[in-house]
Amino acid sequence: MSTLLSTLITGLSLGAIYSLMAIALILVWRSTRVVNFAQAGQAVLSTYIGLEIHRMTGSYWLAIVLSIIFGGVLGGLIDLALVRPLLRRAGSGPEAAVAPVIATLGLLAVLQGVVGMFWGGELIKFPSAFSTAGLSIGGSKIPFSAFDLFTVGASLAVMLAFSFIFQRTGLGLSMRAAAFSPEVAQLAGVRTGRVRTIGWSFAGAAGGLAGVLITPTTFLAPNSLDLLLVFGFTAAVVGGLESMIGGALGGLALGFGLALVLQYAGSSYTFMTAFVVLLAVLLLRPQGLIGKRGGRRV
């Protein structure tokens, strides 16, 4: 099997996870116009919760489901407890410009600190229900494990579910309307505050799943998902930061791209690559790779 092909296959499962994170960031961005830097902390906390449940019950499935639910509840609570008062107090001047950034960074510090207090700082291996060893097809081994297959499948399922909710249900319509034009949505009777809380919940759940899926192949530590946040943000920007499909495609593109860099240049270059990609997209195609021209001002 050619190296190129196997590299691309590795990129697929990584890309799926980046897509999930990108979608989480996009959901919050669309509903609140805030890039939620605490997403990494939320994901870490819900992953540790999953780990704890696995230790207590031994059931991987219960662990994964409960950590997704916990992620959702946590996201909703953050909106109610932090974002709602923050939006109400929106002032002016330099403080207002940095307030949401600072608030989510502060929350990130709190979440990671709390995780560190309960679970310590050592690297932990998160369990997985499937083998992380490569599958063999026709006698030759490929760098794609049963767990990778599960990762791609689970991410795809979440994206399809989100896409169904957004395109086919009344809730989805109100979420889109509130995102694009809060004023018109409110006049049409959409309770935009409640819709925003739901958006934060969905984002928290997606982030939680991303955390559970990435940690079996890496390690879990209080700040182990910071990189996922950066890559998720890059993927979201590549996709234009407005569209879920854009974010999903951005994640996949980044997954493939980073897998190639990892294979042919080495791990020291991956961060730099992500940064260069991010900057290039922002400066050359600010509307994202698939967005319409003239769409946004960065």
Binding site: G170, L173, A177, F180, Q186, L187, A188, G189, R191
Partner: protein, 235 residues
């Protein structure tokens, strides 16, 4: 009845609406006219809770409008079509319409309302699946009004429906508003800079200048008032 009493709204240092009082009978149409910056839009935006009033009151029947958050206003039968063809360009025509009736939930009547709206604006029916961004200015205004009608309102607040439209389209839209009101007993408050078109379909009119009511009365009387034209156009 819509009863507005001494309503005052401030935008920072500017008093946009200054102790405005007037009543609107159920089933009638009141035109609010005045130059740019006279406070017409601010008046409507205060009624639907988009901006907060400083003092005064506004009651629609028993409902204290100033106490309601914007999303609840429509649940009490008041629909507001804001200035500037307020459709959501990212949604399709049909989604824009559906949005207007979302709060009514699974009410079977919604489909009836929808067919009524499409009868009123057949152009929208031809474009249901298209993105709202593909519509012309006039069609967007129709969609904005149609979205408001989907809520089956008792009181319609219309802000400058003629803004930036060609005269022939303006005439068509005003004609539709007029027939709709007469057919359904809808109460209409119509904010307009295009005074004559508005006065042609209104029963009553008030003239605003710098946030204050400077004239009010029968629409016909206002239309033939020379002093109004002076205040309005400078001649």
């Amino acid at each position: 009845m819509l009863r507005i009493d001494s309503l005052t709204t401030d935008h920072g240092q500017v008093r946009a609406v200054d102790h405005v009082s007037f009543d609107v009978e159920v089933g009638s149409c009141t035109a609010v006219i005045g130059a740019n910056g006279a406070g017409k839009s601010s008046l409507l935006r205060t009624l639907s809770g988009l901006v907060k009033s400083s003092s005064g009151s506004a009651h629609w029947g028993d409902v204290d409008l100033l106490k309601l958050p914007t999303s609840e206003v429509v649940r009490h039968g008041v629909a507001h079509v804001p200035e500037g063809r307020s459709v959501i360009a990212e949604l399709s025509v049909e989604e824009n319409l559906n949005l207007g009736a979302l709060w009514r939930g699974k009410d079977p009547d919604v489909t009836v309302t929808k067919s009524e709206v499409l009868d009123l604006f057949p152009r929208l029916g031809e474009r249901l699946k298209q993105g709202a961004d593909s519509l012309s200015g006039g069609e967007r205004q129709m969609l904005a009004i149609g979205r408001a009608l989907m809520a089956r309102p008792k009181l319609l607040l219309l802000d400058e429906p003629s803004l930036g439209l060609a005269p022939i389209v303006i005439e068509q839209i005003f004609h539709t508003i007029d027939t709709m009101r007469k057919a359904t007993g809808l109460t209409v408050v119509l904010v307009e800079q295009n005074a004559v078109s508005a006065l042609a379909i209104a029963n009553h009119a008030i003239v605003l200048a710098l946030g204050k009511i400077v004239a009010s009365g029968e629409a016909k009387a206002i239309a033939s008032d020379e002093s109004l034209r002076h205040a309005y156009l400078g001649y």
